[in-house]
């Protein structure tokens, strides 16, 4: 038990890093869900694609890191657009469930495609900054500062987008009442496209900062954890995503630490934490800790 407590600061520091990734993922899930009613199960694939493209651009083609990152994000955003136009749009009017199942199909397709292009088990995506920093009771990679900075910046940008721009107001209106949104002249189909593209960028950023390793399968667990965070946050606004991301990120590391240090169980069970959390939230508080989430309002 003593060892657990002396390691706690380290768990928390690690947890902050994963929190950032999950916050970004959760914002993507929430944005698409709240403006279209669709849970996009291909959200994780955005992260994988962007990280792998960044690898190819920087390592194989030797582009400077900044360009590689920009290219990866641009391409991922494009994949998001394409997903909406090619898969979601044609299913318009066929019901939300159909669209959700189609995103599962898209996820499998993208994963398989990624596996053909990037067949190895792990690609080393360059970190933005090398090196390690030490605190009295914990140490972390310099990358963590990038994660924190970029996540904070993105959260602020999303907040401004949703509350201060016409696009954001349109997206929020679609989330609240799609029919009324159409009646005031909002192009709901355009909003759906925007939501998927922005969600793809958010997922892409999550993939990039969760370096250093990437592979075709990484979207699965990032997706599950990001989705859990989004559900905890009520699948609504930016606050919810932040709250959910932090909850999953911290809890996961602390529980994994507890399991391995105190009970001697493999920390491989870490990934189960999010799943158990997800099931518990869906069972006991499906509306999320805040907001209305998956439960339809009457």
């Amino acid at each position: 038990m003593g060892a657990f407590f002396s390691n706690l600061p380290q768990y928390l520091v690690n947890g902050i890093g994963s929190s950032c990734v999950y916050i970004l993922m959760a914002m993507g899930f929430s944005l698409v869900y709240s403006s279209t009613g669709i849970i996009n199960f291909a959200q994780g694939e955005f992260a994988a694609i962007s990280a792998l493209v960044a690898y190819t651009l920087s390592m194989d083609l030797g582009l400077p890191l900044l360009l590689a990152v920009a290219g990866a994000l641009a391409l991922t955003g494009f994949v998001g657009l394409l997903l909406e136009r090619a898969v979601i749009r044609p299913l318009q009017g066929k019901g939300t469930l159909t669209a959700i199942i189609a995103t599962i199909g898209a996820s499998i397709f993208l994963k398989a495609g990624a596996r053909i292009i990037w067949p190895e088990e792990a690609y080393k995506v360059p970190e933005f900054t090398q090196g390690q920093l030490n605190l009295p009771k914990a140490s972390f990679n310099a990358q963590l500062l990038w994660m924190l900075g970029l996540t904070a910046f993105t959260v602020a940008a999303m907040y401004l987008l949703m509350n201060g721009t016409k696009l954001g107001k349109g997206l929020r209106a679609c989330a609240i009442n799609p029919e009324a949104a159409r009646l005031v002249g909002i192009d709901v189909s355009l909003m759906s496209m925007a939501a998927f593209a922005i969600a793809a960028l958010l997922g892409g950023l999550a993939g990039l900062v969760s370096a250093p390793f990437a592979n075709y399968g990484m979207g699965l667990y990032l997706g599950i954890k990001g989705f859990t965070a989004a559900v905890i946050g009520g699948l609504g606004d930016v606050y919810g995503a932040v709250l959910g991301g932090i909850t999953v990120g911290l809890l996961e590391e602390v529980v994994a630490g507890f399991l391995s240090v105190v009970l001697g169980v493999s920390s491989g069970y870490k990934d189960a934490v999010a799943v158990i959390l997800l099931i518990s939230v869906l069972l006991f508080r499906p509306q999320g800790l805040v907001g209305k989430g998956l439960v339809e309002k009457v």
Partner: protein
């Protein structure tokens, strides 16, 4: 201004509108009466592009707008106050009204501000409740908000779906007085109602719809005087 020619609309195999012909004269209040399930809402939804039509034409200033998406229809100057108000519950009164101006350039703040004032003068209670969430308004206030929101797009033609539904007689009178005022200021109105008396009292021309078909039409005063409408409306005929 608006002409429906031989319009049919379906829900699956159910024909909710059967070859409807209807004229809306510019500067007039035209009313469509009919009991539950007559197809009134369907007709307005077809005009504003929320549902597709299968046959016929919807001519707006001579141009067929059938099949255009709602966001284009709003930009053409047709604004729809839907059945059941459909205000944005989680947004404030002011945010609702601002969304009503969505199709206009938000850079013209002064103009939009002026129209907000216009709505607040028309419905002073909305001004008092500016920061309140729409979901916490009373039914009558929500109806006023829905009308105000529709006005914010600066329509030439206002479609109204049963604005009297579920409201107290006094509130209904207030709302209809406002509609009359809007009409006097030049707005053309297509009104759908079940409250025959009050609707005909402000209308110029009226249609009676029954199971998707127009069964009676004429100038409002004539219908108001005639006995036939009562019979048809109460279902004693056919």
């Amino acid at each position: 201004m608006l002409i429906l020619r031989n319009i049919s609309a379906f829900y699956g195999n159910i024909e909710a509108l059967r070859a409807v012909d209807l004229h809306v004269q510019e500067g007039c209040i035209t009313t469509v009466l009919g009991s539950n399930g007559a197809g009134k809402t369907t007709m307005l939804r077809a005009i504003s592009g929320l549902i597709p039509t299968r046959y016929g034409e919807i001519l707006y200033y001579g141009r067929n707008i059938a099949g255009e998406p709602p966001h284009r229809i709003v930009r053409m100057g047709i604004s729809h106050v839907p059945e059941g108000r459909q205000v944005f519950y989680q947004l404030s009164v002011r945010e609702n009204l601002e969304l009503g101006a969505y199709v206009r350039s938000w850079r013209k703040k002064a103009e939009i501000e002026k129209d907000l004032d216009f709505v607040y003068r028309l419905f002073p209670i909305l001004g008092e409740r500016e920061r309140q969430l729409a979901g916490t308004l009373s039914g009558g206030e929500q109806q006023m908000l829905a009308i105000g929101r529709a006005l914010m797009s600066r329509p030439r033609l206002l479609l109204l779906d049963e604005p009297s539904m579920g409201l107290a007689p006094m509130v209904i009178r207030d709302i209809f007085a406002c509609l009359k005022r809007l009409h006097q200021e030049g707005l053309t109105i297509l009104l759908v109602e079940q409250d025959v008396q009050i609707a005909l009292s402000i209308s110029d021309y009226a249609y009676v719809l029954r199971t998707g078909k127009v069964v009676l039409e004429g100038p409002a005063e004539e219908l108001l005087k005639g006995e036939r409408i009562k019979k048809i409306y109460l279902g004693e005929e056919f």
